[in-house]
Symmetry: C2
Subunit: 257 residues, 2 copies
């Protein structure tokens, strides 16, 4: 191993609308799909003149956005670290941006050292169309009762089996996760057309945030009672929860180590 080789941690923001998700997809005999990992690796390799792998903390789905995705890679880097973000960004398309670069120690692990992540699900809660925001919010126009939703949201906090909030085929041995905070608010206190569902936890199962959001919407429109959360956790039954909301409303806000 080259002694000049270092490990770098990136903070990455993107508009997910134009990407087939984070993870590189190179189907055999077909052109590679446009993914965030693919676009970034390509730019890093050309900039630094070496093969490298960019490992992401969260494999966001197609259409999901990020303000604070994290990625790590190992490389020998001739560019001073404080100028690296600018050098990368000048080569990136306009729908993705590196917001920070730091050097981390050799044992840093962008996936397994995560302490907490925050997601926000944005709902455009009015009949008028979300014209300039339509790729960044879900248009759920049925009036929502935010107090009822908060009653339900608080019941998610704690260490629970969240199997009832996971899409089939999640492929994880354990469905136990910890949610540290969960709340619902309007974008302007007491009014505002946007309803934000915010959730923080140590990790999330496949589609878990979008299923939680779909369940809280059912509570907010009066179809479910807030205590449905306790029942879904107890039964660990996906069929009891609400629908999986579409990807465009979902934002990966930050990841802490």
């Amino acid at each position: 191993v080259d002694p000049q080789r270092q490990r770098f941690l990136l903070t990455i923001a993107y508009d997910g609308s134009g990407f087939h998700g984070w993870q590189k997809q190179e189907p055999p005999d077909k052109p590679a799909l446009r993914t965030v990992q693919g676009v970034l690796e390509d730019v890093l390799q050309r900039l630094l003149g070496q093969r490298l792998s960019l490992l992401g903390a969260s494999r966001t789905d197609a259409g999901v956005h990020a303000l604070g995705q994290r990625g790590q890679f190992d490389a020998v880097c001739p560019i001073p670290v404080e100028r690296l973000a600018e050098a990368i960004n000048s080569r990136l398309p306009k729908d993705v941006e590196v917001r920070d670069v730091t050097v981390v120690h050799d044992h840093f692990d962008v996936i397994n050292m995560v302490r907490s992540k925050q997601y926000c699900y944005r709902i455009h809660n009015t009949t008028q169309r979300p014209l300039e925001k339509r790729l960044f919010v879900w248009h759920g126009w049925i009036p929502l009762d935010v107090d009822r939703m908060n009653n339900a949201a608080h019941r998610l906090v704690g260490t629970h089996d969240f199997g009832g909030f996971a899409a089939a085929g999640h492929g994880r041995l354990s469905t136990v996760r910890s949610i540290f905070n969960c709340w619902v608010q309007r974008d302007e206190p007491g009014k505002g057309n946007e309803v934000h569902m915010v959730v923080e936890g140590d990790g999330f199962l496949y589609n878990m945030v979008r299923i939680i959001a779909g369940t809280l919407v059912e509570v907010g429109r009066g179809h479910f009672e807030p205590d449905v959360i306790d029942k879904i956790i107890k039964a660990a039954d996906r069929a009891m929860a609400g629908p999986t909301l579409p990807p465009e409303g979902l934002w990966l806000q930050w990841i802490k180590y």
Copy 2:
């Protein structure tokens, strides 16, 4: 003329990114370009089962957005006027929306009866990319002095020859227009990353708002003194003004009759 024929006035919002401007463009021997007028006329004709012409108050350019464009058409309409907006919107693509429909008298004229129009030019004034707003703001990252810009903006108010702020080939006999209000502000008072240049007047020459915005930016970054406005008005010389800023930052806010 059918006695049941009425004149309708629409208030229209659109994201201009996906349109070749407002005005219908049907080049000979080529497919028609996608325009707001074209898309709306097509939906109205299919909905009402008759040929009609939709006349717009402002011929916005490709990439320019609107919250309050106005359009008029004459038709025999079997749908109650209070349900017409919903009927049209259910057939429209997601980047355009009819926000209001009213019946007006037969002598109403959507172009010649305009009393005032408001435009807003939005500048994303920070080095960080305008990720989710990139189609809706201009990314001008050089720090702007809003007080200096306001000093210049106020000098535009009044009835003047604005020939110095019009693109060549504007094709108007008179370049005299009245500006009723013009000011510059940040999206959050005193702070905020977005600088908004707002202008209200009885009419605008071709590219006039984008040239005014480009001139105020030159003032805000210190290249021009605020009194450059007086000099450009006096000389009516386009070469003395700033550049024409790109269309994506421009919003037609409202039109009053």
